[in-house]
């Protein structure tokens, strides 16, 4: 049964004081947060760790949230964005993540018989290229192409003007394409 936006707003409000309401809210949004994290990090375990961090932050700061149900999703994704960026801020961790991403994807190519090798190869290229961009560019790419959000929604989520997001998206896509092409050429020549 689809619940109304008013019900959602009530649920957010009640979740501040009622553990059952919080649990319900958590279950409604767990998958969204995990998917966002895994699209940013390309690693299921890292995504689980960051998802945990996100919901602990949500639990501790929910009483300061005063918007409605629609705003809640933006608020949640903003927290997730900050948590992922914090996770990636550690340069060493970022390097390890890229290396791990490449290795595991190659391993997947070898062992997962039913998978489409081309898709996995494409995924490896994307990981390498995307994770090498600045976090803000990674964020807009993920929100736009994986979460299918409009510019205005991304702007609300990040607390930026739509014109700023437009500009970031333009630069991000140009740089990402360039990096993918370079990586493709590099692999093709090996």
């Amino acid at each position: 049964m689809r619940i109304s936006e008013d019900d959602d707003t009530d649920l957010v409000r009640n979740a501040c004081r009622d553990p059952d309401a919080f649990a319900q809210l958590y279950l409604m949004h767990y998958d969204d947060v995990f998917r966002y994290c895994v699209h940013r990090l390309f690693d299921g375990h890292a995504a689980e760790d960051v998802t945990s961090t996100v919901f602990f932050k949500v639990m501790h700061h929910l009483s300061s949230f005063d918007g409605g149900a629609t705003d809640f999703r933006s608020w949640l994704l903003r927290i997730a964005t900050n948590a992922v960026n914090d996770y990636l801020r550690d340069a060493q961790r970022r390097t390890q993540l890229i290396e791990k991403a490449v290795i595991t994807t190659r391993a997947e190519s070898v062992f997962v018989i039913d998978s489409d090798d081309k898709l996995l190869e494409r995924k490896a290229l994307l990981k390498e290229a995307l994770l090498s961009l600045k976090p803000k560019y990674q964020t807009v790419i993920t929100l736009r192409f994986f979460e299918n959000m409009k510019l205005t929604e991304i702007a609300a989520c990040l607390g930026k003007k739509p014109s700023t997001v437009r500009s970031w998206l333009s630069r991000a896509t140009a740089r990402l394409r360039k990096k993918i092409n370079a990586a493709t050429d590099s692999r093709g020549s090996k």
Binding site: C16, S52, T53, L119
Partner: protein, 444 residues
Amino acid sequence: MMNDNEKYIQEFVKDLPFDAPNPEHRDELKKELLNAFPRHRLHPTGRTVGIWRIIMKSRITRLAAAAVIVLAAILALNLFNQTSGVVWAKVAQRLENIKTATYKITADMKGMPGTPEGYTTHMTQDVMVSYEQDAVRIDSALQLPGGTRKTQTYILFEDSAAVTVIPDQKKYFKVAISDEQMQKMGEEKGDPVTLLKAMLEHKYTELGRKTIDGVAAWGIQVSDPRLGTKMGSFISGAMFDETTVQLWVDQKHELPIRISATGSSKDGRASMEMVYDNFQWDIKIEPARLKPQIPDDYELVAQTKWEAGKEGEEIVDILRLFVEFADGKYPPSLKTMIVANAIASALKKKFSADSGKPSKELIARLMKVDMVGTMYTTLEKNGKDPAYYGDKVSAESPQAVLFRWKIDGDTYRVVFGDLKTEDVSADKLVQLETLSNTENKSNE
């Protein structure tokens, strides 16, 4: 409209396979979240505002409550040392080399002196410890129905003093600490370090692995009312009858990530749930942040002295408050919360809302109430064989033994119901206590 680059990326990411959400992680995280759900939010606020306002009208009660807040001064005086054990020894070793630490304490405390019965006070403390600069700073905020009370406490090892500033009221308290006590505190420092050693000295239970805030952690738990004074007043046995402490260590960095403590009195009137987290290690702390800046127009409300080796005498001085303000009815035990509640209640009855201003001397004596549990535990720890019978003896029993401790070799100092004292041998003490027990039984 999408430009070429956007179209290219959209096409590129189409149908890429990603890990799906794992139901096991989802369920495990749900459990962890619900376990950690902030309990203070479960209590409706505001229902005791009226009572609180009435209580806070009394200047003396307000100060009695303020005296307990100075507990913060004691809280940060305790931390780590080396220990045996495999993983924990490493943790202790790592902590030995830490130069600075900051962390947050969040607590819900029921039955704080001066609050309505059953009322839960929410408290947060931001603690900064610098082992290099030999100083500790604690910024506290107590959320009460009448508003938030903020204090800053500084423990200055070089100056042998602890200072608590209340900026909103332009007031401050000062506790001078004897050289001997300061040296002891300096050795023990003051936070999660001694805590680890104290926990390992007691019988502890391994809690295994758990994910805390997304970090893999290992934990131990100690449930022992004799937890030493090194653990800080709030979480030591000196404060409550029952105390349980859990320590969780970040598996990767081998440093504490969370400490949680619960305490309660036997009668259930006072209890506490406390969490230490947000630990940061070896961050730079500007020296100026660890020194109190007290403007000229701030009033020194009271100053007192905390001397090591005179715990017994100090306890007698605290008991004298009950002769003066509680008709000689002594607190049933010397746990800090029990004594603080009993004196706050007595003072509330004794002083009307518009009674005169309490003297600085009285406030200084009230400040010592914060230390009573620690003092008693110190006597125990130092082999002074103390015993207290406030649950059976009042000022109306001048021949009965109220309190005693060993002062030297075979000699005990005995304090009777009327607070007169006598130094006696161990044999004589047995006779006095036997007589005292007989009298108490005949009075029951």
